[in-house]
Point group: C2
Chain length 339, copies 2
């Protein structure tokens, strides 16, 4: 079923049929002709060939979504948020997983641009990321979300209020009486890791906690294994602590496992906190005190920004969107036991 078939069936010319089937050009046609063409097109089950259309218009009505790993519970809600905005507008999404490997990222961006995606939503960017440059060199609009990239000219981004989250959590721990608060920082190559550890330093200083009392360990990935390793490193370090503020939930889960291995109870011996509020964290033991971020909404917001760019590449869209976060107090924090 092609335009040609409909043309033959109705007796009109292909171009007339094309116009009748297009919302915009339809205005130049007699209402009667439009109706007739559309009816037989429907009857014959005509469906526009998006490849041919894209070849002609340079628009595929497809976007690329770049994420680190869909099995990480952080990302599926983001993907659904994106879909909830893009799908009603007629856009489909090609999703690729980078595993935070730069080479993979570059190749996958190639995969996307080869298929002529109209734009890219990038939730896997590193702070210094060549793939963004690559995308730009193809003149493909891009918005990052969850993380940001530091580049000139700037890339519009949608992130969470990392600083506020860390501040609230630190204040929460202080309220319980903690003065010796350790931090497991995330990878500094990611904006989330970097921003959270910077916020930790700033908030700690502002609250008058001594730097010497608040030891730090850096995780190389945002996962349980690294959380475990970093917690052990802190426990084996010279500085005692009563609370452990982790840069995300998975680090916290790993840290809790490590503390238990060392015979420490959470929260009675050490309080532990996370960040993100992955689902079913209320079912773990103890239910984890954490910071809730807006995953679905981040996807929505970024998609809306991209949509504006797709309609008009010169559109003046906000460069920075920072979504609010909420403290979720549960049971992994208690009053400190005297050291």
């Amino acid at each position: 079923m092609t335009l040609k078939d409909i043309a033959k069936a109705t007796g009109f010319h292909v171009s007339t049929v094309s116009r009748a089937l297009d919302q915009n050009s339809r205005i130049n046609l007699t209402e009667d002709v439009v109706r007739q063409i559309r009816e037989t097109a429907d009857a014959m089950g005509y469906r526009r060939n998006r490849l041919a259309s894209g070849l002609r218009t340079n628009r595929t009505m497809t976007i690329g979504v770049v994420i680190p790993d869909i099995t990480n519970a952080l990302f599926p809600p983001i993907v659904r948020g994106i879909e909830s905005v893009m799908e009603p507008e007629g856009y489909a999404s090609i999703i690729v997983n980078t595993d935070n490997v730069p080479e993979r990222e570059m190749r996958l961006v190639d995969v996307l641009t080869e298929r002529g995606v109209d734009g890219i939503l990038h939730a896997a960017t590193l702070r210094d990321d060549d793939s963004i440059q690559l995308i730009r060199s193809h003149n493909v609009p891009v918005v990052t979300l969850n993380r940001r990239v530091e580049l000139d000219p700037p890339v519009p981004f949608v992130i969470n209020d990392e600083a506020l989250g860390i501040r609230m959590m630190l204040a929460h721990l202080a309220e319980y009486g903690h003065r010796r608060i350790a931090h497991i920082a995330g990878p500094v190559a990611l904006s989330t890791g970097a921003m959270r550890v910077a916020a930790f330093h700033a908030a700690r200083a502002a609250m008058g906690l001594a730097e010497a009392d608040c030891p730090l360990a850096y995780a190389e990935r945002f996962d349980e294994e690294e959380g475990h390793r970093a917690a052990i490193a802190l426990l084996d370090g010279p500085t005692p602590f009563t609370a452990l503020l982790c840069a995300n939930d998975r680090l916290a889960l790993g840290a809790i496992a490590a503390l238990r291995q060392r015979g420490l109870s959470v929260p009675h011996d050490v309080s532990v906190t996370g960040f993100n509020d992955l689902s079913s964290l209320d079912a773990v033991t103890p239910p984890l005190t954490t910071v809730r971020i807006l995953q679905f909404e981040a996807g929505e917001a970024a998609a809306r920004l991209l949509l504006a760019l797709l309609r008009d590449p010169q559109a003046d869209i906000p460069a920075e969107t920072v979504l609010p976060v909420v403290l979720v107090p549960r049971e992994s924090v208690a009053t400190p036991r005297p050291l």
Copy 2:
């Protein structure tokens, strides 16, 4: 950068360039010409336009992946399994979420076929599913996974050994001494729900447990809310039970919440079991006894089947692939307390 540009730069004709850049037709060309063309193509950064290529060949090197909901932890590993096979072969995936709504399913299949996907992996099929017929009417190869559809001619599928899983779990409970075992069945519109409840009946009878001692409740969706509702219904029913075998993990989680609300302890008052072994189920309280299925491997297997079909639509591939399951005993099962 098009073939035309390379042709101009090298002095050869477009078709010669096209051939030089294609693995298969290259054999007809002088080695020297091929080298020269490929070198300048590389230097000029040529990349084949997959749209134009697809328009010509009817192959987009893109497949469609239909799942119910990516935020359901069951599916991300499946998606990665698919990707692990398809991506190295040059295929990209368009992923769509049906939410188990038939109308949505139909529209999303349209989205996929419009974009000319070469094949579809369908993990969201209903037992009686019109979207599969729709796919077939477009002559697009399809393999279902996780679930199966009952259609003639049959659609190749990759599923888990549901019957074995249920049998093993029932035997496990019986070993602990349970004779009064309730079942929360999944939606019978899904092959997983139907096969598990059928297996429950068969295994129960084979083990000599009285049907009257083993009450049933049907969930309308595989989620916590329905698990909760069904558990309450069983508790309010006339038949007492000491164990509750749930058709999947999420139903079990909901059921445990319901039991607790009624002041019952798991596993001391009632043993509860799940199916699937979603990640971090070992972190919940109590750690859930369940059946582990091979999610990633299911994705891999289905992708390999589809790949065979993409190479040769007439390929003789196995109609049924049943992956092994493993019982994972944890702490949600104990010896029954006398009624």
